[in-house]
Symmetry: C2
Subunit: 579 residues, 2 copies
């Protein structure tokens, strides 16, 4: 997991490498060619907002006024659709692309629909090629602005996180009044950058005037608990309270030391105030897209913010949102963490698959994806079937969206259809990448039909009262096909300690590879009977979950040998190019 | 210089601690009570801009469209006034406050005037109390937004700087094709934070997958060469070229390794694109204020951006701008670096002084500043006289502005007047802190009178062709009252090496304490006969100057025992408080 491809951890949206031949233009070229409307016009026409509700950030981005957001908290909500996917492969599934395409498709059939996406991180943007703004005709724009800085939310998270770090080290420097054990500081620093050299550092070197030497390290900003808090907070007061609850380490007597003890919570909340306001942009078809927050889907819950989803649901008849990675990680956390904490309830789910990804799950190598192989599709179908079963276990009405690539053969598509028939779930072939919302009309109609019933109460896999270790086991055996979990005695003691501290009712957030149902990224398809190894547990007391690290998980990616950054430049017109 | 007061390095605007008793409300309260106009209205009414020229960032901040900025490059320019100050003391001089007050005063007497300020850094904001938005009735607003994140420019600088760091370490990791000597990497990382624990670190620890171990460290963002480049670049092409010119270290054969060699220049320019556009806000009296860029005034040149000053000069009849610290550092660099590189030429200068600061230069301690002491004012006047002489040496028409505090006695003010009479320079007592632009009408009239003549060509203290060591000596003996400079042979060899590399024509940027004409911060008044010790030299090949570090200079401040951050919080209305 230390290979450069680790950046895929965040880049769910693959670059469709094999589709280069049959597409005339890059995503950037397509997006640039599409004229955008003033964002206030989109907000007024499609969401019924007024100009006063918006705080403009440039010409095509806006934040929603937080007072308006607060007013909408108790408004009646439209339907909510979760887009999730089969287990990711390097072939690419196109979950963000499908989310945007479905939003445009719903608008095309006359529904007032909005999409809710996560903000892209600068790290993968400069690492492997790939922003997080969709692709082809199903994109949100302006893509260079969204991918670079956007409205500054991630920088605010970085600043707030590192202010806590600085105040913590400052407390150590000035006599350590909290009696913090420097060997048990768990709060690292963050940077919105793929920078492996910062993973493990020794800081505070240089003598008594330069602080207290100790081991430290940087995670990427999307792995920060502050990011998870920003995305789960229901308002500014909740934000400030959660920030104070963050546990940064232990005192020498073992007592947890919180951000509140360090005195950092208020200033952190000030830094995050504007970042709490949801961001509004538009799709290439001028439909509203909320893009807000972007926590990792392994070490955190991988969903856009509660405030954005709640606000969109109050303004639109249908809100389409996505969760990170495959349904085993993203949808599970969407339900057990985001929905359980916020009260949001999805009306239906869309499971995105591609013929190419199913072939990879069926054993086909990346170089052979161009060769028609319905048999491999059938073999890889085990992965699809497992995810379908999982979503049905949650009690969610489901449709499978086959994100069509032009090289897909009729026989391959038929193989997917047969798989879905067997699994008892409708399949819709969607062509939004090539055709925009018009290519997703059938998908939109299927989703619309699926959400006519009253919102079902999701069937969670575990009660809040279940011991933490058993919650991990419930997810592993219930969704991953695992025979059980392996928790070392030391880790088990930590879980018991969390329970003793009063955190036993928290949900678990399992950090495992996104490339497999198991902790082994090479185990494609639908492995079963494996044991899930719980290597480490971490308490995210502010965000409100317990992270279970299973296998090798990278929280600071590295850059590949030839990073995407090397191709980027300003062209003679002063525009971002090579993106 | 490792004491927490090091944060004063950037916080030129002191908090007027002794004035607390006689002012009814805090700066934040005064600013919040003032209704602001929509920024587009200020831009239209006061600068003749159209809405299309603006890119809004929130309701009261905007960036100017870069195409419009480029169009204005060749437009006729109005008059340019530099505000500088005597040597700073903890008593506070109020240079930013005077700049804002003078701008309002000029508008009050019917001139179309704009001010150009530097952007505040988050570091001092959370360290010692003190933003950088003026004070009393002479402020720019909204102050919480300007002091926290603003339009994201500093975050863009941080990202661009650290992307270069990450790409450099990535090159080391992937076989070191540039043969970089890890012991001779001079490019550190940056954070916009006072964080002493990051001054000296060892990075790249953890084994072969985690990069290459080496010594490293963080500077504060305002000390980044990228910040200096942003502020000196005349356009996007110049920006991208300068970024490529940055020297990050040496190869094992001694050859300089540049950002261009690492392939970082293009992506850095993309990250900085929007940050290049000048920011527009308003004073409490609704007059235009450009706030753009904020390089340190020791390790860099300490002025707001060339683009902002040039743009303001093209739009306003009079542009008032400030330079960092006292005139020995700020005004000298404004002239030798900013003006010489850009072709900008000031028409006059304002030297800001306070009775309180003069008393400190005359030997009065901070606790005794409330006691009337005209004799101490006269003694401290040596500092004022030195600065007056220096500015006259540059050939600049000059007025001294006495920034009035309510505790100043008639006898003390008379002492300052006598000093100015002797020095042959007009004195104006200004009361903008208490009265806004109305309190600066006399100052505005004096400045207006002073700038009626054609713009004088400044008399630079050295020719570009002078050897670098002699340039340092010219500044030290010409402005600081030094008898000479002490340059160790090793440092002298480095200067000769810079000359051999073709950088001999660059100006020098002297990094010394701002608290004295000498390198000893305790030597107040006007010390002379001292030798300036040149401890270290650094080549800023992209920014275009050679830094001479004289004495102890802190490029990453620390937080004090009780940082201002501890008081900050969101109040029940969701507003930033304790600021």
């Amino acid at each position: 997991m230390t290979r450069p491809t680790a950046v895929h951890h965040h880049a769910d949206v693959a670059a469709h490498p094999a589709r280069v031949a049959d597409r005339p233009r890059s995503d950037l070229e397509i997006a640039r060619a599409a004229p955008l409307k003033p964002i206030a016009e989109v907000a007024t026409d499609r969401l019924g907002l007024t100009a006063d509700d918006l705080i403009p950030y440039g010409r095509h981005k806006a934040k929603l006024d937080l007072d308006r957001v607060a007013d909408l908290a108790s408004a009646p909500r439209g339907r909510l659709v979760l887009v999730t996917a089969i287990t990711p492969t390097p072939a690419g599934e196109g979950k963000t692309t499908t989310t945007v395409g479905l939003g445009d498709g719903l608008n095309a059939i006359g529904k007032r629909a909005a999409v809710c996406l996560r903000e892209p991180s600068l790290g993968p943007c400069f690492g492997m090629k790939g922003g997080a703004t969709g692709g082809g005709r199903a994109q949100v724009a302006p893509i260079d602005e969204i991918n670079l800085h956007f409205t500054g939310d991630f920088h605010a998270v970085t600043s707030a996180h590192n202010l806590l770090s600085a105040l913590l080290d400052n407390s150590l420097h000035w006599g350590n009044p909290l009696d913090i054990d420097t060997r048990r500081v768990t709060w690292k620093r963050v940077a919105d950058m793929n920078d492996r050299a910062l993973r493990h550092i020794v800081a505070g070197l240089g003598g008594p005037a330069q602080g207290v030497p100790r081991e430290d390290g940087f995670d990427i900003t999307v792995a920060s608990e502050v990011m998870a808090i920003l995305c789960l907070s229901t308002g500014l007061d909740d934000l400030q309270r959660r920030l104070g609850d963050i546990i940064v380490g232990r005192a020498r007597d073992g007592r947890p030391v919180r951000a509140r003890d360090v005195g950092a919570d208020g200033a952190m909340a000030c830094l995050l105030r504007d970042a709490m306001a949801p961001n509004l942009v538009q799709s290439l078809e001028h439909n509203p897209a909320f893009i807000h927050g972007g926590p990792f889907a392994n070490i955190a819950h991988g969903c856009n913010s509660v405030l954005a989803t709640r606000t969109a649901s109050a303004l639109a008849d249908v809100t389409v949102t996505e969760a990170g990675f495959g349904a085993d990680l993203g949808a599970e956390k969407f339900l057990h963490i985001k929905c359980r904490q916020s009260g949001l309830r999805p009306d239906a789910a869309v499971l995105v698959a591609t013929v190419r990804a199913l072939k990879m799950h069926g054993g086909v190598g990346k170089d052979a994806l161009g060769i028609p192989d319905p048999q491999a599709v059938r073999a890889g179908g085990a992965n699809l079937a497992r995810h379908v079963g999982n979503m049905q276990r949650f009690g969610l009405p489901l449709v499978v969206a086959l994100n069509r690539f032009s090289g897909d053969t009729e026989a391959e598509v038929a193989a997917v259809r047969a798989l879905c028939d067997t699994a008892g779930v409708p399949l819709v072939v969607a062509d939004h990448w090539a055709s925009g919302g018009g290519g997703a009309v059938a998908l939109a109609e299927a989703v619309d039909a699926l959400t006519q019933e009253p919102t079902p109460e999701p069937r969670f896999l575990y009660e809040e009262s279940l011991p933490l270790a058993e919650k991990i086991e419930a997810v592993a055996t219930g969704l991953y096909g695992a025979a059980g979990v392996v928790i070392e005695p030391k880790v088990l003691r930590q879980l018991q300690e969390f329970e003793a501290l009063g955190y036993g009712r928290l949900p678990v957030c399992i950090a495992k590879t996104q490339y497999s149902f198991s902790a082994d990224p090479s185990a494609k398809g639908a492995p079963d009977g494996h044991m899930l190894p719980v290597r480490e547990v971490r308490l995210a007391a502010g965000a409100g979950f317990v992270v279970a690290v299973c296998g090798d998980i990278m929280t600071m990616p590295g850059l590949p040998r030839q990073p995407a950054a090397l191709r980027m430049h300003l062209n003679t017109a002063g525009h971002v190019d090579g993106f």
